[in-house]
Amino acid sequence: MNFRRALRPGPAIGLSIIFLAASLLLTPAVENKGLLGDFYGGLVALNIIGIVIMTTLTAINVYRLIRQFRAQVLGARLALRFVVIFALLAIIPLSLVYYFSVYFLSRGVDSWFDVRIEQALDDALLLGQTSLEATKTDVVIRLQRDAAQVAQTTSPFGIIKLLEDLRGEGDFSEMSLHSLSGRVIASSSSDAISLTPSAPDDTVFARIRQRKTYAQVEPLFDGGLQLRIAVPVISDRMGDPVRLLQGLYPLPLRYSRLGESVQSASDEYNRLKFLRQPLKLNFVITLTLVTLMTALIALWLAIYSTRRLVAPLRELAEGTRAVASGNYLKQLPVHSGDELGVLVSSFNQMTNQIRLAQEATADSQQQTEAQRTYLETVLTHLSSGVLSLAKDGTLRTHNTIAESILAVDLTAFEQRPITTLGDTHSQLAPLSSAITRHTQHNDQDWQDQIVLASPYGRQTLICRGTRLPETTETLSGYVIVFDDVSALIRAQRDAAWGEVARRLAHEIKNPLTPIQLSAERIRAKYLKHLAGDDQATLDRATRTIIAQVDLMKALVNAFSHYAQPMQLKPVTTELNRLLQDIIELHRQNKKINTFELDLDDTVPLVHIDPAGIRQVLNNLVINAADAMVGIPNGRLTLRTHQATRSKDRSVTLEVRDTGPGFPQELLGSIFDPYVTTKTKGTGLGLAIARRIIEEQGGSIQAENDPAGGALVIIQLPVSLDTKPTGPLEGITNTASSH
């Protein structure tokens, strides 16, 4: 809806003026002034129509206002309040004026009438009538005298002549003689063009038949009064019929005017007296219509003015609400140049300024956000863990790599002192201690190598710290960057061990064959020439040499094997089936009382070298069997399931025994070469196993089961293929214990 169009003043003011004019015209109309008096009824009808229209318009507007008020439309309450105030200001005085107007009008009309005036008018009228009676009596006497003369005259021409003379002498306007049958016998008139005399009516004849006189004052059509006098004409002669002599005597103009004046005043008074109640009713109706029309127009104009007044306020309130809700583009139309217009203009300027400031802030925030996102991206993709600390040592932020390296959820430690990290996770205590120490000393730049004893092995971190410049309180603090160099160190160590093994194999293996050959030659050449204890001693010595050389050869071969690069051929393999095959080979192992397979059928295919895995598992099974010697009901459990520790998609294989477990002091280095708990072991079995697993992209960890026994956890990569591609048959058993 076009709100402004609804508030255009033209139709409203035009309609109001028309109806107001119609109601004002009632006043002269009720006084019967000219044409307005003739249209009084029409004006009343027009006013009633106007009142109906104005009532309807007002009712519609009030209804809409109340509906808006109930709907809690903005500005409706204020508009309703204004309308009520305006209406009261208009209607209360109008009602008072109406009441007193009706009262005084009634009293005013009543005051027109007075008993004395009425009596005076009646007396004046009576006086006029009496005066007329006197004149009438005089004229009757004269006409009776004339009738006597007429009675004496017998000649028709004489009668006409006599009537002519008598009329002139008596100042009659007409004199006529009639028979009682109504026939005109003779007449005389002052009107030359009048052919027939004025005929007396039946009443006159009836009076004459009774030998009585008829005398009556009559008003004339053109005004004035005349006396109609009729007397019987009775002749002395026997046989003459009674005739009727009528004389029309115009009253003197002075008499007539006085009489008319008295009568007019009396009639006017009587007319007003009779019309008193209708007059009051008309005045009250007129006053009521005018009052009603005025009140309705005032009420309607009050509503109209209120709506015009409230409209910019409503728009202003809506604009304010829009700004409060964050819409700074809101601009209000300026419809006037008054104070409200100035207010709306100021509001528009304000929102414009806010919008500009908001845009500047948004740009700044956007830039800041972009920089922060860029920094987060950089930190996220760093291979180093990053921690930022407040000046008081509180952890402020971290990157995801830091969580990955430390294997803890650092979010839980944000806004908490870094020492709580070590308190909560004991393996991280060296890290938190080192950081705390440097921050307490307020070191500018520092670097430490920190070794963490995690449950999954020893973890070496290179940790560097930097104190941030103290520009602001919020930006000051420390940045800690650390790298997990465990793999690097392990690789370096493995390479060193490989080099050692290779050199050892090369340097030791070469002399072993001549030693062995020499020992065999000594044995073959001299054993048969000796006897007794010498023979036995030589025999024992050469055997020992040969056996130890064999042993050293095996040891050297093992080193050589460890030093050689792995020749692995990963294929898509069904792990559960491979495990079942491997276990079948060990069913006869008396050291293991129970084999338990807890294999998840839903695990996906893995991408591994079956021979390598077979070697790894053979080593693990043999190690477990050796560990469970002397332990009743030794049980080996193989379990597969979807990986839960690693974020990568992998399959977890757990090998668990019920032996004594790993010595705690060896847990961090159990996969290092020459680390073994066996008296005759080479200490290379688990080292080789780790190489096989890691060469295939997997990982291996060793820990002690809280329920007792050793637990080796292997993560194997999942294959992208959906069908096995590597045959399990024909794989040779390369199990060997080191």
Partner: protein, 169 residues
């Protein structure tokens, strides 16, 4: 004064009548039965003249429901009371004459016989199926202003007879 002794209620009736066209002249006559309400009689006695208007129409009946009105005449007669002479008067504006009566009843009886002769245009005088309609009514427009609004709404001031019609011979 002698108000109409026979007047009880207002009632305007057309008792009978007739019409004929002779030599392009319409001759109509009707017998009326007019009586006034006591309030109207009192108003006359208090100096308020009442004009009784006799409306005459010449129409042509046709097959369709409505008819065509060719000519219409209005004959006002003023009833008033002359207080100086204590007589009721009947003033015929058309005849320019004033008649005087002792009672209002006599004055009304004066109006019982209505006759009129009007000249007609030749084109109308030759038409067939002509009908004369007549009615008598109080001319409320001539009443004083205070009575005019009331007369439009309330009896007896808006008294009028039914239309009475008869074919033109």
């Amino acid at each position: 004064m002698l108000l109409a002794s026979t007047i009880t209620t207002a009632d305007f009736k057309i008792v009978g009548g007739g019409a004929q066209i002779t030599d392009q002249h319409l001759s109509s006559h009707a017998t009326l039965d007019l009586s006034l309400d006591p309030r109207s009689a009192t108003a006359i006695a208090n100096g308020i003249p009442i004009i009784i208007c006799i409306d005459l129409e010449l129409v042509q009946n046709k097959l369709w429901p409505w008819s065509t009105t060719f000519l219409e005449w209005r004959y006002p007669v003023k009833l008033s009371y002359h207080s100086l002479s204590r007589r009721f008067t009947v003033t015929d504006q058309r005849k320019k004459s004033t008649a005087v009566f002792h009672t209002l009843g006599e004055a009304l009886r004066q109006l019982d016989r209505f006759s009129v002769i009007e000249a007609l245009p030749a084109t109308i005088a030759k038409k067939q199926n002509l009908v004369v309609r007549i009615r008598a009514r109080i001319d409320t427009e001539s009443l004083p202003a205070p009575l005019r609004l009331i007369s439009a709404l309330l009896p007896p001031w808006n008294e009028q007879s039914q239309w009475h019609e008869w074919p033109v011979q």
